[in-house]
């Protein structure tokens, strides 16, 4: 069956509007993806029929809400092939997921140890580790990258050593689109007994991940980048790691017993889910996952790869067009500059023509520093983008460049 992008677009009401009198071309998917009707309806349905607090109360609505939420946990568990539902923790987002691990490790890490990240990370996978290292006295190390935006793995064996507590890195770079050689890095980490965390912010919507096949300790997902609601993330952790890790936040839901002197913690996943969870978000995310699976993640990835290929070729014919991040293995992200123009100006003039792109540093200041640039404009594609939209984007970009030069 061929990929029916028009049928998919029909499922995304937000795409059918004009911006500044032009049809909206939404190319900021690496920042957040739009939501299909299935997600919007699941949330409406929840508040129309089932809303109640979860895991407490024996009444019917509470039971329905709890069942719906736990069904999503099971769906996420199956989606990434975790061993058990207890290994799936719902968080506020990837930033929260990584902070949960980094905070917990504060009780475990020794001052002589080190934490290894890469030069390609989002601020959310840099700052929590800097804070951990400041608190503990451990050292923070970076795997460097080359000028194509690929990690320089010849340094891997030297950087990841027997004192490495954890190696944390992203599967796919949000700023440049680089797909990192996950298994290779994980192998080295495991060989020296280091813990591992893979940030799946950008891989969630584009690639199938099997956490058992990777044998990774922690893996994170973001709902809103996977066509689901904002304010929700997933932290996968192996049971033995989650049991060893102290909880990040205290409160209701995460305890077994509470006296005024001492509390004991609940089993995973609840130990890491203090407070009332983002129930509506979790239910919406469940609908998003089902939607992704109904289209098929391999089909989505193939469509996006074709869009990336076409966009790279067609945009490169623009005089002075420069792609920042030209890794051999890349996801559907084009970070770019056009000689003689500033990315902010491009962003404004593209917006005037209905084209939504991101401009700036993309929360990756160290990457921009390495390329000695203040920022880029970035177009990123999703399952609903079309080849015609890339043509509109190119025409709008050419007009903007003509005005700016």
């Amino acid at each position: 069956m061929s990929y029916d992008v028009q049928a998919i677009r029909q499922q995304f009401p937000i795409l059918h509007q004009q911006v500044h009198g032009r049809p909206l071309v939404y190319l900021d998917n690496a920042a957040t993806a739009q939501k299909p009707l299935a997600v919007i309806e699941a949330i409406t349905n929840f508040y129309t029929k089932d809303n109640a607090n979860v895991h407490r109360g024996v009444h019917t609505l509470s039971q329905r809400s709890t069942d719906a939420m736990e069904a999503v946990r099971a769906a996420v568990c199956a989606h990434i092939n975790a061993r058990e539902v207890g290994e799936i923790i719902f968080t506020r987002g990837i930033t929260d997921s990584i902070n949960t691990v980094a905070f917990g490790m504060g009780a475990l890490i020794q001052p002589h140890q080190n934490v290894v990240i890469t030069a390609l990370e989002h601020h959310s996978n840099i700052v929590p580790w800097q804070m951990l290292c400041e608190r503990s006295g451990a050292a923070l190390r970076y795997i460097p990258m080359n000028d194509k935006g690929e990690l320089n793995l010849s340094t891997l064996d030297a950087l990841v050593d027997e004192n490495t507590a954890i190696v944390a890195f992203n599967h796919i770079s949000n700023a440049l689109g680089t797909i990192n050689p996950v298994k290779l890095i994980l192998e080295r980490a495991k060989a020296v007994g280091a813990w591992t965390l893979v940030d799946g912010a950008q891989s969630g919507p584009h690639a199938k991940v099997d956490v058992q096949d990777w044998d990774v300790d922690f893996f994170t997902l973001s709902s809103h980048k996977m066509y689901g609601p904002t304010g929700l993330g997933v932290l996968y952790g192996k049971r033995e790691r989650l049991e060893a890790l102290p909880p990040y936040q205290g409160g209701g839901e995460m305890i077994a017993t509470v006296t005024m002197e001492k509390s004991t913690y609940a089993d995973i996943p609840h130990k890491f889910e203090a407070g009332t969870p983002h129930i509506e978000g979790i239910i919406g995310f469940g609908a998003a996952l089902s939607y992704i699976n109904s289209v098929g993640i391999e089909a989505i990835a193939a469509h996006e790869a074709a869009l990336l290929d076409y966009a790279t070729k067609t945009l490169s014919t623009i005089d002075g067009f420069r792609i920042i991040g030209t890794a051999t293995k890349k996801a559907s992200v084009i970070s770019f500059l056009v000689d003689g123009t500033h990315p902010y100006d491009l962003g404004v003039l593209l917006d005037q023509q209905g084209i939504a792109v991101r401009t700036g540093q993309h929360c990756t200041q160290p990457i921009m520093d390495q390329f000695c640039i203040a920022g880029t404009a970035r177009a990123s594609f999703a399952m609903y983008n079309t080849f015609e939209e890339i043509d509109l984007f190119k025409a709008a970009l050419e007009r903007a460049v003509t005005m700016l030069r």
Partner: protein, 140 residues
């Protein structure tokens, strides 16, 4: 020398000529391109306007009772916007600059059109120019 009010009236006239925002932007960009460049030595952190998304450098000098302004920016739309402000404020009495009401920004629709971040940048530029005017004796 036209007054601040007269300068604003001319800008309003120019901008009402354009219906489309792309054309208004084109005009802003042309004003930015026409603004004399600032000496590289003046593009230092001391002259950076705080609160702008792009880098905007603003230099001011007292000449008699008046204030002279020069500016530059790394992004051309920001440079065009500061060029409009310079067009209105440059070589005007410090007292007038400090007290001026910039109604033209609303009249040409720029204030409503800019995103909140950019509108903040615009306000920072105006504030900085008025601070200079106050410092140069525009307070009394």
């Amino acid at each position: 020398m036209p007054t601040i009010a007269e300068k604003q009236a001319v800008l309003i006239d120019e901008f009402t000529f354009f219906d489309e925002w792309m054309d208004k932007y084109n005009h802003i960009i042309e004003m930015g391109k026409a603004l004399p460049v600032l000496d590289e030595l003046d593009k230092n952190d001391d002259l950076l306007v705080q609160g702008c998304q792009s880098k905007v450098w603003l230099k001011a000098e007292k000449q008699g009772d008046c204030v002279r302004f020069w500016a530059d920016a790394d992004a051309i739309i920001a440079k065009g916007i500061v060029a409009m402000l310079i067009d209105v404020f440059d070589n005007q009495p410090a007292k007038e600059v400090a007290a001026a009401d910039l109604g033209f920004l609303e009249e040409i629709g720029l204030k409503d059109h800019l995103s909140p971040t950019r509108a903040n940048g615009l306000m920072s530029m105006i504030k900085q120019m008025k601070f200079y005017a106050l410092a140069f004796g525009g307070a009394n």
